[in-house]
C-alpha cells in the first residue's frame, strides 16, 4: 500500500475510534447485589429488592450520559457462608465497583472483611448488626441499627410506668442487639428485666415461648423477630394464648408489626406501640411520591415497608455518587462521598451518614397501630430527631 493511502487509512480508523460512542465517556457501573431471595428471610429480601428496583426504574433517566448501570443479583439463601462465597466471586471474578444489599447481619458480617481485602465499597441496605461498619473501612449503612430503635422504645416503655419487662428474641446477632438495646433503655428508665429468652431462628411455631412469657406475668413483653412471616407467627401465638387479655403489654421495634404484614396480623395488633424508621402511613410529601411510584409499579400485589424504603435510599445514595462522579470513581472517592452524604428527600424523612461511624443517622418514630377507615396503620405518635447509633456512642472504637 502506498504511504499516503496507508496514512489516510490510519487517520480514518483513528477518527472512527475517537468518534465512536463506545469510547466516548462509556462507563458501566457494576453493582453486586447480594440478597436472600430464598431462605427464612426471603420475604424481606423481596421487599428490599422491590424498593431498589423501583428507584432504578424511576431514576434511570437521571444517570449522566453514557453511564450504564449493571446490577448483578446473587442469592445468599440466608446463609453466611454462601454470602461470603458470592462476595468473593463478585469482587474477584466480576470486578464489581460496589457491593450492595444484604438482609441478614451474619451474612453482612461474613462479607465485610472481604470488602476490606478487595477494597470495594459495601452499601448495606438492611443488615442491622451494630458492629458491622467497624469490620471494614469500606462499609456504609443506610438502613438502621437495632440500638437506634431498641433503646428509645425501652426508654418509652419505662416512661409508661411499666416496672417489669420480659424479653423474648430470635437467637442471632440482630436479636441479641435488640435485646441488649431494649434492656439498656428500659433499665436506664428505672425498669427491671425479669426474664430473657432466646429462641432458634427460622422457627415457625412460637406457642411454647409465648407461654413462658405469659407465665412470668411481666408488665411489658419485648418480642423481637426478623419481621415478615415470623411476625405473623409470633402474633398468632400471642392471639392464641391471649397474652394481651392476660394484662401483659407488648412492645418491640418495627420488625414485630411491619406494614405489609399488618393486614394478615389483623385486629390483634391494634393499640400496640413500636419504634421504627418508616411507616407507610407517614404523611410527608416524599413518602406520598414514593407510594405513588410503588403503586404504579406493583399495584396492589405488594405493600411497601421499611425494607423497601431502605433499599430505595441505598440506590438513591449510589445514584448520587454516580451523578457526582459521572460513573467514574475510585473506592476512596466513593467512601469520601458516602461519608458525608445527606438524603433530605427520603420517604422516611431527613437522613444522613455519620462520617465518624459510616452509619445512618435518621429520625426514629414511636408508632401506634390504629384502625383508620377500616385499615390498620402504624401511626407516628412521636418523633425523635436525627438519632445516632447509641451503641457506638456508648462503645467508642478504640
Amino acid at each position: 500500500m502506498s504511504r499516503a493511502l496507508f496514512g489516510s487509512a490510519v487517520a480514518l480508523v483513528a477518527a472512527a475510534v475517537a468518534l465512536s460512542p463506545a469510547t466516548v465517556m462509556a462507563q458501566t457501573v457494576k453493582i453486586g447485589v447480594i440478597n436472600s431471595y430464598s431462605g427464612f428471610v426471603a420475604q424481606a429480601a423481596d421487599e428490599m429488592q422491590k424498593g431498589m428496583d423501583l428507584y432504578v426504574k424511576e431514576h434511570e433517566k437521571d444517570l449522566p450520559a453514557g453511564v450504564k448501570l449493571d446490577l448483578i443479583k446473587r442469592d445468599d439463601t440466608s446463609k453466611p457462608d454462601v454470602g461470603k462465597r458470592l462476595a468473593q466471586e463478585l469482587i474477584a471474578r466480576d470486578h464489581v465497583n460496589l457491593l450492595a444489599g444484604v438482609i441478614l447481619s451474619p451474612v453482612a458480617a461474613a462479607v465485610a472483611p472481604l470488602t476490606a481485602e478487595g477494597r470495594v465499597p459495601f452499601v448495606i441496605t438492611n443488615a442491622a448488626g451494630v458492629a458491622i461498619p467497624r469490620l471494614s473501612p469500606y462499609v456504609v449503612r443506610v438502613s438502621f441499627t437495632l440500638w437506634q430503635e431498641g433503646y428509645p422504645i425501652g426508654k418509652w416503655a419505662a416512661q409508661q410506668g411499666w416496672k417489669t419487662a420480659y424479653t423474648s428474641v430470635t437467637d442471632f446477632i440482630a436479636g441479641h442487639d435488640a435485646e441488649a438495646a431494649f434492656t439498656k433503655g428500659f433499665t436506664d428508665g428505672g425498669g427491671k428485666i425479669i426474664g430473657a429468652d432466646r429462641f432458634p431462628p427460622a422457627n415457625p411455631d412460637f406457642t411454647p415461648f409465648i407461654q413462658r412469657v405469659k407465665d412470668a406475668k411481666p408488665d411489658v413483653a419485648f418480642l423481637w423477630v426478623p419481621a415478615q412471616e415470623q411476625a405473623v407467627a409470633i402474633m398468632k401465638a400471642v392471639k392464641d394464648l391471649g397474652l394481651r387479655e392476660a394484662g401483659i403489654n407488648i412492645t418491640s421495634t418495627q420488625d414485630l408489626l411491619p406494614d405489609e404484614q399488618l393486614p394478615i396480623i389483623g385486629d390483634a395488633a391494634i393499640g400496640l406501640v413500636t419504634s421504627g424508621n418508616y411507616s407507610v402511613d407517614a404523611k410527608r410529601p416524599a413518602n406520598t411520591a414514593f407510594l405513588a411510584a410503588w403503586k404504579r409499579a406493583y399495584g396492589d400485589k405488594a405493600i411497601a415497608d421499611f425494607f423497601s424504603v431502605d433499599g430505595w435510599d441505598g440506590m438513591a445514595m449510589i445514584f448520587d455518587l454516580i451523578k457526582a462522579t459521572k460513573g467514574d470513581f475510585t473506592t476512596d472517592q466513593a467512601m469520601a462521598f458516602f461519608k458525608t452524604w445527606k438524603g433530605p428527600n427520603s420517604p422516611r424523612g431527613p437522613i444522613a451518614i455519620d462520617p465518624a461511624t459510616r452509619d445512618i443517622v435518621q429520625n426514629i418514630y414511636i408508632r401506634k397501630v390504629e384502625k383508620i377507615d377500616g385499615k390498620l396503620a402504624d401511626v407516628e405518635i412521636q418523633t425523635i430527631p436525627m438519632v445516632k447509633d447509641p451503641w457506638k456512642e456508648l462503645n467508642p472504637a478504640k
Binding site: P200, P204, D240, G242
Partner: protein, 288 residues
C-alpha cells in the same frame, strides 16, 4: 397456674404430634412393606400444603374442601410416580433408593420455588379458628383443638380400616411376609401402588392441616425430613401404632423442651432420639 401452662404446652405438643403422625405413618408402612427408603416422603406433604394454600388463596376455596382436594390430588399424582420411578428400585440397593429420592427432593424444591416463589405460603384461617378455646379446665388455642380432633378422627378411621377391612388385611399380610402374601394370591404389585397412594394422601393431609406449624416453603421436604425419619425410626417400620406413640413423644417433648429451655429446646429432641435408639435399635414397636 402452672397446670394451665402445662396443659397449654402439652396440648400444643399433641397437636404437633397429630401432624407428624399423619405425615409419617405412610412412610412407616411403605418402608416396612416395600423395604424402600423413601426420603422424598416429605414432598407429598409439601405438595398437599401447596395445593391447599393455592386453592384457598387464589380461588377462595374453604379450608375443609381445599384440604380434601389436596389430599385426593396428591394421592392420585403419587400413583404414576410410584409406577414409573419407584418400582424399578424395589428390593434394590439402598444407596440407589436414597439417591433417587434425594434427587426428587431437590427437584420438588426447585419446582415449588419456580411455580410459587421462594416466600412462605400464607395461611389465612377462618376467624373462628384464631384465638383461644375455652375448655372446662382451661383455655387452649382453637386451631390446636381442631388439629387434635381431626387427627384423632383420621387415626380412628385408619386403624379401623387396617384392622377390619380386607385391604387392611392385605397390607398387614404383605408387611409380615411378602412372599407368602404373593403365594396366597395377593396382587402385591397393585397393593404397593395403592398403599403408596394412601400414604401420600395422608401425608398431604398432614402437610395441609399442619401448615401453620410446619410452614409451606420450597425447602419443606428437606428441612423437615429429619423429624419424619425420627418418628419412623422411633416408632418402628411397617406398623401404624408405633409411629403414633413416637409422634406423641416427639411432639410433646419438642413443645415441652422449647418451653423449659428455649435456646436448646429444638436440639433436645435429637438427644432423646439417640437415647431411645440406643435402647431399642429397631424402634419401640419394630420387629427383631
Amino acid at each position: 397456674m402452672a397446670f394451665s401452662a402445662g396443659l397449654s404446652v402439652v396440648f400444643h405438643g399433641v397437636a404437633f404430634a397429630m401432624v407428624l403422625y399423619l405425615i409419617s405413618v405412610g412412610l412407616s408402612v411403605t418402608m416396612g412393606m416395600m423395604g424402600f427408603v423413601n426420603l422424598a416422603h416429605g414432598v407429598f406433604a409439601m405438595a398437599g400444603g401447596y395445593v391447599m394454600t393455592s386453592l384457598m388463596n387464589r380461588y377462595g376455596v374453604p379450608l375443609p374442601l381445599a384440604l380434601g382436594a389436596a389430599a385426593a390430588a396428591v394421592a392420585l399424582a403419587s400413583l404414576p410416580i410410584e409406577r414409573l420411578l419407584y418400582r424399578w428400585l424395589y428390593g434394590g440397593d439402598e444407596l440407589d433408593q436414597v439417591l433417587l429420592t434425594m434427587g426428587l427432593v431437590f427437584m420438588s424444591g426447585a419446582t415449588a420455588q419456580y411455580l410459587c416463589g421462594a416466600l412462605q405460603q400464607p395461611l389465612r384461617l377462618p376467624p373462628g379458628l384464631n384465638g383461644g378455646l375455652h375448655l372446662g379446665f382451661g383455655e387452649v388455642p382453637a386451631y390446636d383443638a381442631l388439629l387434635i380432633a381431626s387427627g384423632a378422627a383420621l387415626v380412628t378411621v385408619l386403624w379401623l380400616g387396617i384392622e377390619r377391612s380386607r385391604f387392611g388385611a392385605k397390607i398387614r399380610a404383605a408387611v409380615d411376609n411378602l412372599r407368602m402374601a404373593q403365594s396366597v394370591g395377593i396382587d402385591t404389585s397393585r397393593l404397593f401402588g395403592l398403599t403408596f397412594a394412601l400414604g401420600s394422601g395422608l401425608a398431604a393431609l398432614g402437610g395441609g392441616l399442619g401448615a401453620s406449624l410446619i410452614t409451606i416453603t420450597p425447602g419443606y421436604a428437606l428441612d423437615n425430613l429429619v423429624y419424619f425419619l425420627i418418628v419412623v425410626a422411633i416408632g418402628g417400620l411397617g406398623n401404624i401404632r408405633g409411629p403414633f406413640l413416637a409422634a406423641l413423644l416427639v411432639g410433646v417433648a419438642d413443645s415441652t423442651c422449647k418451653y423449659l429451655v428455649p435456646q436448646f429446646g429444638a436440639f433436645l429432641i435429637y438427644a432423646m432420639t439417640m437415647a431411645i435408639l440406643l435402647w431399642r435399635p429397631r424402634g419401640l414397636f419394630g420387629r427383631a
